[in-house]
């Protein structure tokens, strides 16, 4: 796929997340895993959600899908999919939406297949479970054709149909999971670290599959991961998370060409290059106790440009250029528009 990912500017938001908070209860107090995040996702857009492990990116995805397990709980917020607030839906309604509107490619997707079921059975399950009304029931032949079509879409040969997961390589299992995710033509797919356990060549094949599926179906995606190189290749916008908050959100080229939050800058600088040998950028990495975030900015303990203001007042998100928003006091006077 040599074509650049097209970046039309659709105006409708498929997904709107407002003030989402997901906390985990522990004996020592709540862990603020996701602490008031806001973002939007346009129709057909791919958003990368990046940050180090423990920053809350997977928890945010679980919050959107309402799959937060105890001791975790959604404390507050709105998750609007095509205008409808998912957090107000009943579990039964939500079950109907999963797979059909919102699909998840889980972390370690390759281990999420049932080892005792042939591939076609697993995909068939997704299709059958969501045939709610009698009228749209597919015949056995139609289902088989649909499954074969799905396998073709993710670039797998037909003989996979009859195979068991253990007969497939990691990259193939990953693509089976993508096939399951697109089986019901969802409007949003969330892929959680779907290529992190794969070798670079296989990772490239899986990433290409994701790009191809996106072009074919025009589906919106949230891709969670920490590999900035991979993000540069496949997403349109990036949201950088740190300790439960989104510290910067911008178009992918602005994140790479103009990283603005000190943490984003750190993240970009720490990408090892294959082009030139350069000295390593070493930083001290102590994060605060997630149960007791310090007053003020959450990044203050690691920030190279921390000031007294940062230790007392939490920064607001400043819109420093069109669609680039940074939560840092350093940009207080550089808003292109109002504070968002």
């Amino acid at each position: 796929m040599n074509t650049k990912v097209s970046q039309p500017s659709p105006t409708t938001n498929l997904l709107e997340v407002k003030d989402l908070r997901v906390y985990y209860e522990t004996p020592g107090g709540d862990i603020l895993a996701v602490d008031s995040i806001d973002f939007e996702l346009k129709e057909g857009e791919t958003l990368g959600l990046v940050g180090e492990s423990g920053c809350g990116k997977s928890t945010a995805a679980m919050g959107i899908l309402q799959l937060v397990q105890p001791p975790g709980r959604i404390v507050s917020g709105e998750v609007r999919l095509q205008g409808k607030d998912l957090l107000t839906l009943s579990e039964g309604k939500m079950r109907q939406l999963r797979w059909s509107k919102l699909a998840l490619i889980p972390q370690g997707a390759m281990n999420s297949l049932n080892p005792t079921m042939r591939i076609y059975r697993q995909i068939q399950d997704v299709i059958l479970t969501h045939q709610t009304t009698g009228s749209d029931k597919l015949s056995a032949d139609q289902i088989k054709n649909r499954i074969l079509e799905l396998l073709r879409m993710v670039g797998l040969p037909e003989r996979i149909y009859q195979m068991y997961p253990h007969e497939l390589s990691g990259g193939m299992k990953q693509r089976v999971c993508i096939a399951m995710a697109i089986a019901l033509n969802p409007s949003l797919i969330i892929a959680d670290e779907s290529t992190s356990a794969l070798d670079v060549v296989v990772q490239r094949v899986v990433a290409q599959t994701i790009l191809r599926v996106k072009q074919m179906l025009g589906v919106s995606m949230i891709i969670i991961g920490h590999d900035m190189g991979l993000m540069a290749q496949i997403v349109d916008r990036i949201a950088v998370m740190y300790a439960g908050k989104i510290v910067e959100i911008a178009a992918v080229r602005d994140i790479f060409n103009n990283p603005s939050h000190p943490y984003t800058q750190l993240l970009i600088e720490s990408i090892p290059s294959l082009k030139e040998q350069k000295p390593l950028k070493v930083t001290e990495g102590l994060t605060h106790d997630p149960r007791h975030p310090p007053p003020g900015c959450i990044f203050q303990l690691r920030c190279p440009i921390v000031t007294d203001q940062c230790r007392s007042i939490a920064p607001k998100a400043h819109l420093i250029r069109v669609e680039q928003s940074v939560a840092c006091h350093a940009y207080e006077n550089t808003d292109v528009a109002r504070t968002v």
């Binding site: 670079v200 060549v201 993240l267 294959l274 040998q277 070493v282 001290e284």
Partner: protein, 343 residues
Amino acid sequence: MPTKIPMLLELSNATKIYQQRNGRTKQAVVALQDFNLKIAHQPAKIIAIAGESGSGKTTLANLILGFVQPTSGQVIYQGVQVSKISKKDQGVAEETEDISIANSKQMRDYRRNVQAIFQDPFGVYNPFYRIQHVFDLVIKNFGLSDNSDQARQLVESTLNAVGLRGHDVLRKYPHQLSGGQRQRIMMARAYLVRPKLIVADEPVSMIDASLRASILDVMLRLKEEAGISFLYITHDLSTAYQIGDQIYILYQGSVAEKGKVTKVIERPHHPYVKLLVDSVPLPDPAIRWKGEIDLPAEEEMRGSATSGCRFYPRCPVRIDRCLENQPDLYDVSDDHQAACYQI
């Protein structure tokens, strides 16, 4: 002619074959084949071993650390053989009468001088003990100090070398430290005995990207300042390129290409290594991958294990000759070799 100084560590035709039971038939899986490596005492070097999973990287680490024994070939430490050849292949062992087998004192010396760091900085700790315990054990085991004052100084100076301070970490439990700190403590533990070689098996793959540099930096400094060589096993070409001196790229148990790291990465010659280097996603949204690639079916990839080039089923430039014999490593330039007939 000066007397020959033995290498610090030498692997000569080291081969490891696992027997896999497949129903009633047995199948031989060649995890590592005829691997040759020489690490000199001086100057200290970082030797990167790269390859996809199943390429034999960890088998190589296990052979060097003595966790598994080679099916044939030898692991030679300072001129004495530290590997035991499995009984079945005694015949092979007899060919090398000039290398004596290590006695127990030499084995202990080898154990001390070849240290290891593993991938998972969470799993290697006993959660019930404070960090202090990790160091106490090593000091006791190797008799590193006569009194507690001396021991404390030794631990402190070792921790300082990896950028930590004793009073910050020693009284803590493993769960109170970050992954990066834990991995640096593992580095300190290895460095405590002042070894000559550290085998680091994927030491940064479980560390957050923003903290990886601190681990790699410790490796560089221990090499420069303490003269310790590293065998840096990784699947990540970019970090190998950043800190490595030499690189060996393995494909299904055999070396596809090796040499000076800048030469191999900047001008790869083996078709597999070219594919590998091309596939590393560039952190630049303006430069996308060139063209689409596909993988052959799994069984085709694992095929031709016994004869010919391992990469044949996937190779874009294969010729009939590749099926006959596995290509030797041919010189591309000084300190750069690739196992391909097309060079």
